[in-house]
């Protein structure tokens, strides 16, 4: 027992206090501590679950986006206007290059050689050593990409990467540039239809979502892996016809050169039956593939600027100017072209009679104008007594004012409204600007009819070209105001039509009968009036000229006066022409306007002399070649057209003479052989009928070039004789060469240049009577 007692002291007897303290520890360690932990877990896992899970997923999930291919833009015949192709973006990771110690100079030089990027810019990028992504070049094509790959692999370099991308191509370069617009290097539409239909064209990019580990490798945990397919962008088919677009751009560009047009130009071609835009061109233009580069003529002007800051500002302005679709965005004073509208409403309102004679004395008193400042006709001597038809052929202002006064201001505005000239046409709301008209309170003033008088011949208000052509189309298509449209249909990637445009009649403004009368009057304007330079042999063309003074220029002169400077005497003009064909059933209507032709050329600045022949040339190409309308030549026309020369090489002289005789060619034999060894013009050359063909029989064509003479102002006959004597040949456009009032306005080969013997000079003939500044 004593051992037992001793044991009790050493081993210890558990006291009541020990039990209670143990119990306390039991509760503290076993329950209290765990309660804290459970509460904390509840807070983290239940209350803040969403927060932490989303944060964690930011680390854990990797997203790879799959590019949707941008839709293609087609013309009405399915020709590609804009298309996207796969490329890669080459980028470097300055971080990795710095970390792994690659030779940046070697990388920069190598990439610079392949991609044609400056070494300096790459070195500069490599300075951002905390960056993983510095793009060296966007839109690199396969060949270069392969070269970059080989360069990197071959030199055991790193830090250079590629990511798939797409690049936009415009296979026709400048064609319809402002209409199409362009895309930035990130494939976002920045202008034109590319911008307006960006969301449709872009499509929906797909993406893959993968769970990855911290090293970036994807994990095969299917519940987190997701795949969304890319939906390619929709394709857009336009109403634009590439060939029509090509012809209007071609002749527009030529007109710019011929008349040295300073402020640019616009041209719209429309189908008057539907309102479909067939072509729309502007100058200055650009190449959407390289939309920052500006044209040669603009560059020339910029090269005069020496100050760098000024140069940058001018360059920017030039870029903005060339991107602008001025056919939609620039309101202008239509001038005499607008007389079509006045005519149509006067006839529809039955306030004039086609048989009645109206007097023009060259001036006219109008209520509201100063007494000593009567309203003048462009012909200050007056046109005398004329019928309405004659007045239109003469583009007489006075008769036009007379018509408008009879229509009255309120009715005049009612028609303006009905023709849609107050509103945007709806073709492109963002690009279109509004028209500018007198307020009704001013316009309807009975004691001041000056505004109505000026408006009757297209002055003192502004409309956009698209408004003008839409309204004009309504006067010749039977009176129906069509809503213009440029997108024919939108199709998805599989070719299903998503959206198809139908011609939409907004309202009938004038009757079919009135429209027919307007058509016939306008046809006479071209056949024998101020518009005759727009005539096309074999086709019935109608149209109206227009020449408007530049209001801005006038205000600028006023400023100069205010600053005691001598105002410049010369005035600037917008010359325009609206033409349609065939006159009996118009299938195309073209509005051309040239803003500020320079006074440097010898051509008289007027719509009839400048714009009309250009539209005539456009129609001459478009009607047979784009629209497939066959020419119907009258007897008179046949002697007046350009024809293809036959091939008569290797024929005997006698046979050749027979062939040429029957085709109406003249000829001259050079050399003394019996067989034609060569001919000028060459076979299938397009020259005027009646050209004197040179038959070489055992003789050589002279090799010396010929100095082209100036032919301006010569009659057709004199010009032809002059050129043929020198060994040059003629092709004509514009007024009929049978017209004895016709003279040479513009020649395709400029005077004073040397050209090969036998070259063909295209002469634009204009009728001296059709140069009205109206």
């Amino acid at each position: 027992m004593s051992e037992q007692v001793a044991n009790t002291t050493t081993r210890g007897k558990k006291s009541r206090s020990l039990i209670f303290r143990t119990l306390f520890l039991q509760i503290l360690c076993g329950i209290a501590a765990f309660s804290i932990l459970v509460a904390r877990l509840y807070n983290l896992q239940i209350t803040q679950n969403d927060y932490y899970e989303s944060k964690a997923l930011q680390f854990q999930l990797s997203q790879t986006s799959l590019n949707a291919s941008r839709g293609t833009i087609f013309d009405v015949n399915g020709n590609i206007l804009a298309i996207s192709a796969s490329t890669v973006n080459v980028f470097i990771s300055p971080y990795e290059i710095a970390r792994d110690g690659y030779d940046i100079m070697q990388i920069a030089n190598g990439l610079s050689d392949i991609l044609n990027v400056s070494v300096l810019s790459i070195v500069e990028m490599s300075q951002h050593t905390d960056s993983h992504y510095q793009v060296v070049m966007f839109g690199v094509e396969d060949l270069e990409a392969q070269m970059v790959r080989e360069f990197v692999r071959g030199n055991k370099l790193g830090g250079v990467y590629m990511e798939p991308s797409t690049r936009r191509y415009y296979p026709n370069d400048n064609l319809a540039a402002q209409v199409l617009g362009f895309t930035g290097r990130d494939n976002v539409g920045l202008d034109g239809l590319e911008e307006r239909y960006d969301s449709q064209l872009t499509g929906v990019s797909g993406r893959t979502i993968n769970l990855r580990n911290a090293l970036g490798r994807n994990l095969m945990m299917s519940q987190y892996n997701d795949y969304y397919t890319a939906r390619n962008g929709d394709d857009i088919t336009l109403t634009i016809d590439s060939s029509i677009q090509y012809y209007i751009e071609k002749h527009l560009a030529q007109a710019i050169i011929d008349y040295d047009v300073i402020n640019g130009a616009s041209c719209i071609a429309m189908d008057p039956r539907t309102g479909a835009i067939l072509g729309m061109a502007n100058y200055p233009s650009f190449n959407p593939n390289d939309f920052l580069s500006i044209g040669e003529r603009e560059l020339e002007r910029l090269s005069l600027i020496t100050d760098d800051e000024e140069y940058q500002a001018a360059l920017y302005q030039a870029q903005v100017r060339q991107w602008r679709n001025r056919a939609l965005s620039d309101a202008y004073e239509p001038g005499s072209v607008f007389k079509i509208m006045t005519l149509a409403m006067a006839i529809e309102e039955n306030v004039v009679s086609l048989n009645h004679l109206y007097d023009c004395q060259g001036y006219m008193e109008v209520l509201g104008r100063e007494e000593d400042e009567p309203l003048h006709c462009w012909n200050i001597y007056g046109h005398g007594e004329q019928t309405i038809v004659q007045a239109m052929k003469n583009s007489c202002n006075i008769v036009c004012v007379e018509m408008a006064l009879r229509v009255r201001a309120q009715t005049f505005y009612k028609y303006i409204d009905a023709f849609g000239l107050f509103d945007r046409t709806g073709l492109d709301d963002t690009a279109e600007s509004r028209s500018l008209w007198w307020d009704e309170s001013v316009f309807f003033n009975r004691n001041n009819q000056a505004q109505l008088a000026s408006a009757s011949f297209g002055q003192t208000f502004k409309v956009t070209p698209i408004q003008m052509i839409t309204a004009a189309a309504a006067t010749i298509n039977g009176g129906y105001l069509m809503e213009p449209y440029i997108v024919k249909q939108i199709t998805d990637g599989s070719g299903n039509i998503i959206e198809a445009a139908e011609p939409r009649v907004l309202r009938q403004v004038i009757s079919e009968e009135t429209s027919a009368i307007v058509r016939s009057i306008l046809e006479e304007v071209v056949s024998s009036g101020t518009g005759r330079n727009a005539s096309v042999r074999g086709y019935r063309v109608g149209g109206k000229t227009g020449t408007s003074e530049f209001v801005e220029q006038l205000s600028q002169q006023a400023e100069q006066v205010a600053q005691n400077e001598i105002p410049t005497v010369v005035k600037d003009y917008i010359v325009s022409f609206i033409g349609f064909a065939p006159a009996e059933d118009p299938q195309i209507i073209i509005l051309l306007l040239l803003d500020t032709p320079s006074h440097e050329t010898d051509v008289i600045i007027s719509g009839g002399a400048m714009a009309a022949p250009v539209v005539g040339n456009m129609l001459a190409d478009i009607l047979p070649l784009s629209l497939g309308i066959k020419a119907k030549y009258s007897e008179e026309d046949l002697g007046d057209i350009n024809v293809d020369t036959p091939s008569i090489i290797n024929c005997s002289i006698a046979d050749a003479q027979v062939i040429l005789d029957t085709m109406g060619f003249e000829y001259i034999v050079i050399g003394d052989g019996d067989v034609v060894t060569n001919q000028l013009p060459a076979p299938n050359a397009y020259v005027v009928s009646g050209t004197r063909v040179m038959l070489f029989a055992d003789a050589d064509i002279p090799v010396e070039p010929v100095l082209v003479p100036s032919l301006h102002g010569m009659s057709y006959g004199a010009a032809k004789d002059t050129l043929e004597a020198m060994g040059l040949f003629v092709r004509t456009s514009g007024a009929p060469k049978s017209d004895n009032r016709a003279e040479v306005s513009v020649q395709s080969l400029p005077a004073g240049e040397l050209h090969a013997y036998g070259s063909i000079v295209e002469l634009t003939l204009i009728n001296k009577d059709a140069i009205a500044r109206n």
Binding site: Q4, T10, L41, Y51
Partner: protein
């Protein structure tokens, strides 16, 4: 022979303690099985009546809870270690297989420990304490340095593959030796400063000083808290603890005040947490801990730097939700979360098993600890009681600290989660400790009332043995 006699003699004395249990039972009105409170020890069949001729046998609930937690822990090691093994070492199962080996051998060690009489073990208590000090000293010289701290000793030389932390031995040594000292002193002396405070203060002071030399803050703190619990259980007067708490509070206030004064910040309007975050923790010897404190106070501040680990841990815990991502479906274990099979394995548990799973595992731990304290209360004598309290408390401290760190309640420390975290020697030590508790449980006497309810034959048998 005398030992056996003494041990049996102890049964007789236990009756008093059983009466204490009965008293609680009557007032508590807790659910009972077979007329006895559920916490009463029973054998594998849940019966009080032994059908073998052994003593009570080990405490089955405590052992089963341990084995269940260990089983879950080993499975979680497999889940957590697989990705790193797969992506880094190329041996995805290596960690798991080693842990299975450690666990199997650990269970054997546990069994061995449970077969030792605690008295035998207690004889080595002071020797073990001396050995701990020896190891704590030599680790400063020949320890394996990891991240600027020498905490590990290689078994068989510094380059050995198997390592252990002397602090693990020190913890056990503190438990055994303190308990022995407390029993030797008796209740009266423990109330004095000379016997109840001073010896403990010297031992712990020296030990903490050595640990700080490594440096190893977490072990210092664990051992300090462990010692305080041992002293508390040993009967040290409560006013000493009040005084200690007061001194600590004053010290903390001074540190705060001086630091804020030094940095010229007006602290009037700042919360304690904000004040803590203003302190320049980097000063002094413990500079290595400064980043951890900053990261603890503001885990989002330096996401890729110091706050990375705790932030990834919070992402793992937080994205678990109620039901978790599913076993094996953790995403954070894919190399995002460092130490995912080690100190931060509980974060993976939370992510995969969700709040429900984490709660259940904490519940198992809670049950284990409650059971441990219960065993302590029912232990044969004071020494067994104190040792069991020490071991159970140590388990609780480690579980609490680890989970608190994983959930950012405490700054990052290197405390592993018992039975879960990968590591051989730590697991062995933990299982040996469990073994010691089981050994204590073997010696728990049958309650007298249980003996009374036995069938006469067995009662006779039992009483025969009991006398």
């Amino acid at each position: 022979m005398s030992f056996t006699h003494n041990a049996r003699g102890a049964y007789g004395r236990r009756n008093n303690d059983a009466a204490v249990g009965n008293g609680r039972e009557e007032t508590g009105g807790e659910p009972q099985i077979g007329g006895l409170p559920f916490w009463k020890p029973r054998d594998l069949r849940g019966e009080y009546i032994p059908n073998k001729k052994s003593k009570t046998g080990v405490d089955v609930p405590f052992m089963l809870l341990t084995l269940l937690i260990l089983l879950i822990g080993v499975v979680m090691v497999l889940s957590a270690s697989f990705p790193r093994g797969y992506y880094i070492s190329g041996e995805p199962l290596k960690v798991f297989m080693r842990q299975v080996g450690f666990a199997s051998s650990g269970i054997f060690l546990m069994y061995m420990a449970s077969r030792f009489k605690l008295r035998t073990i207690s004889r080595m208590a002071y020797l073990l304490l001396a050995a701990s000090f020896f190891f704590l000293v030599i680790v400063l010289f020949i320890g394996i340095e990891v991240n600027g701290a020498r905490r590990w000793l290689g078994i068989g030389g510094a380059g050995a593959s198997t390592t252990f932390q002397p602090s693990e031995i020190a913890k056990l040594a503190v438990i055994l030796s303190f308990a022995k000292w407390i029993c030797a002193c008796g209740p009266a002396k423990m109330k004095t400063f000379k016997y109840g405070i001073l010896p403990f203060g010297i031992v712990i002071g020296a030990m903490v000083w050595l640990l700080m030399r490594e440096p190893h803050i977490s072990a210092s703190v664990v051992i300090f808290v462990l010692a305080v619990i041992m002293m508390y259980a040993g009967g040290v007067k409560l006013r000493w603890f009040a005084m200690g708490a007061g001194i600590l509070a004053v010290l903390l206030a001074c540190v705060l005040f001086l630091n804020l004064r030094g940095s010229g910040i007006n602290s009037d309007n700042l919360s304690i947490r904000e004040q803590l975050s203003q302190i320049q923790w980097s000063s002094g010897r413990l500079g290595y801990a400064d980043g951890r404190i900053d990261a603890w106070l503001n885990p989002e501040a330096d996401p890729l730097g110091k706050g990375f680990q705790i932030r990834q841990s919070l992402y793992a815990v937080g994205s678990g939700g109620l039901l978790g991502q599913g076993l094996g479906q953790s995403r954070q274990k894919y190399l995002y979360l460092p130490e995912e099979h080690n100190d931060y394995i509980f974060a993976i548990v939370c992510e995969e098993l969700g709040f429900i799973g984490a709660f259940l595992i904490l519940f198992l731990f809670s049950m284990l600890i409650i059971r441990g304290f219960w065993l302590a209360m029912n232990a044969k004598d004071k020494y067994s009681c104190l040792v069991t309290i020490g071991i159970t408390s140590l388990l609780a401290i480690q579980v609490f600290t680890n989970v608190a760190v994983v959930t950012n309640l405490l700054p990052a420390t290197g405390v592993s989660l018992p039975f879960f975290s990968y590591g051989g020697t730590a697991l062995w030590v933990q299982l040996v400790q469990i073994g010691i508790v089981l050994s204590v449980s073997r010696e728990i006497p049958y309650p007298q009332e249980a003996v009374n309810e036995m069938p006469a034959s067995q009662q006779n048998n039992r009483q025969k043995r009991a006398v």
